[in-house]
Amino acid sequence: MEGDEIMAKTIEEKQYLVRFRCDTKSHLEVKDENVCLTSCPDKDCTIFCPADVYKWEGDRMHVGYEGCHECGSCRIGCPTDNIKWEYPKGGHGIVFRLA
């Protein structure tokens, strides 16, 4: 196989290699949907989240908590402090196998 094909490039390819034990309930919650819509023109979380968890769908924020690395960046970086951030239930969420 050509080297290029086995090195993950896109975020989708990278995320595919990570093991997740998903909870059925989200550990991330937008506190007030309206704040994202009306008071946050830049929607920084959709850019800096390393797992592409946050996606703006035109009128609301989609939160793909299933792929969260639990780094905490969104909680700290949200300019309007609008993210309720908890740890997933014990044993759930991301499971790093290597580093």
Binding site: M7, C71, F96
Partner: protein
């Protein structure tokens, strides 16, 4: 499970496990609580583990710990778009006992380390989130977990709950971190045959290399990229302050791809098979961000206390030493049967007198200074590259003429005074 322990440690990373190990070894009844499936499953680091601080806890640990390679060469690359200035130190003594540092994969290492604490008598409970500290009469007396009937009590609770430390925050020991107090770092583990790694890095099977990469690797932002050799894989990653990442509207995984595709880096990783992608925050606020460390019945250790020396990429060693010091303070408190802040405070005093407090103090203004003055990354590293290029390009002009042209090009662009100021500022914060 007993209802009451001498010590409850929250988090089985390097800090928590060191604390649990030391306390259990001294005969205390220790509960170590980990939220992941196993210790290490939530933990990330670039990969350098220093020998000294772990050796003080487990002598000759390298004979049994799951390590990758002892590092015999530390390289530093100052990157421009299509060039780099490099410096390095290689010493074969680092490849022999007692070694200096090792590359490690944390999911394997942390699991082994927590197992050593269990051997000493600590009780390890995985898959359990501590949701809050139980506080009675201004004193932490235990923790509430997400298990049914999950309240557990202890004389002392040690918060080793990592960079986010929601527990430290909920006790009011620190406010929410600001985006310039943390670095967002992403990395990949790339599988490559041992032989290929050895050839590319000019080492043998039992020798490793660490590369710290500055400049274009963070597109001028305050941060670094790194490339470390494991046994048969490489760790490649990049991190910048979260504030920088936000300001520049950078996607961290795009920055990682930029690093991987960089013409100076690409040849080293070519053909690697990505086996894992990881993101994590590093506490980089330094001395001024260190929270309150001790309260009645409670102490904070490791990343949760912002114990990271970003300049020397030290963190896990500080975590281990702080965990050990906390345990020793608890042992003293146990002898007095007094777990008030006043007694436990011996931990804080010892910590500030140790290399942790002293190193954090030495570099207390570094992050802030470099964040406020990005020219060190944006201007001076490209200048270094241009200077080297013009000095080493044989074009017929005399060397003396070249030297003065190089110096002129640096001072003319910025002005002599500005350059002198920049040099003085850098010296002042690093001295």
């Amino acid at each position: 499970m007993a209802d009451k322990f001498d010590v409850i440690v929250v988090g089985a990373g390097p800090a928590g496990t060191s604390c649990a190990y030391t306390a259990a070894k001294a005969g205390l009844n220790v509960l170590l609580i980990e939220r992941g499936e196993y210790p290490g499953s939530k933990n990330v680091m670039g990969g350098i583990l220093y020998r000294k601080q772990l050796e003080e806890i487990i002598p000759e640990f390298w004979k049994e710990a799951p390590l990758e390679r002892p590092v015999v060469e530390q390289r530093f690359w100052f990157l421009d778009k299509e060039s780099m200035v490099t410096t390095s130190y290689k010493g074969l003594e680092w490849g022999k006992e007692p070694f200096n540092n090792f590359t490690v994969l944390r999911a394997k290492f942390d699991r082994w380390f927590a197992g050593k604490a269990v051997e000493q008598g600590a009780l390890l409970i995985n898959e359990t989130v501590v949701t809050e500290c139980i506080v009675e009469e201004n004193r932490v007396v235990g923790v509430r977990t997400d298990r049914p009937d999950g309240d557990v009590y202890a004389d002392v609770v040690v918060l080793a709950d990592g960079v986010n430390s929601l527990l430290g925050k909920s006790l009011g020991f620190h406010k929410e971190w600001k985006p310039d107090e943390v670095a967002l770092t992403v990395m990949e583990v790339l599988n490559l045959p041992k032989k290929t790694i050895n050839e590319r890095f000019n080492v043998s099977d039992d020798q490793g290399v660490s590369v710290e990469i500055f400049g274009d690797s963070t597109q001028g932002l305050l941060g670094t990229a790194f490339l470390y050799t494991n046994k048969d894989s490489l760790n490649i990653g990049v991190g910048t302050t979260l504030s920088g990442m936000i300001k520049k509207k950078l996607k961290p995984y795009h920055l990682l791809e930029y690093v991987k595709e960089h013409p100076m880096i690409r040849p080293y990783i070519e053909g690697g098979e990505t086996s894992e992608y990881l993101a994590h925050l590093i506490p980089e606020g330094g001395y001024k961000s260190v929270p309150r460390l001790v309260g009645n019945g409670v102490m904070i250790v490791g990343d949760a206390a912002q114990f990271v020396n970003a300049i020397h990429r030290e963190g896990s060693n500080m975590a281990m030493s702080s965990g050990k010091m906390a345990a020793e303070a608890i042992v003293r408190a146990k002898e007095l049967d007094d777990f008030t802040e006043r007694t436990l405070d011996s931990y804080r005093k010892e910590l500030y007198n140790s290399f942790i407090g002293k190193d954090l103090k030495k570099y207390k203004d570094v992050t802030h200074t470099f964040e406020e003055h990005p020219q060190y990354f944006t201007d001076y590293i490209p200048m270094m590259n241009k200077a080297a290029n013009s000095f080493f390009t044989v074009d017929g002009s005399p060397k003396k003429e070249k030297q003065s042209r190089i110096i002129k090009s640096i001072t003319e662009g910025k002005g002599k005074i500005a350059v002198a100021k920049d040099l003085y500022r850098a010296w002042k914060v690093m001295k």
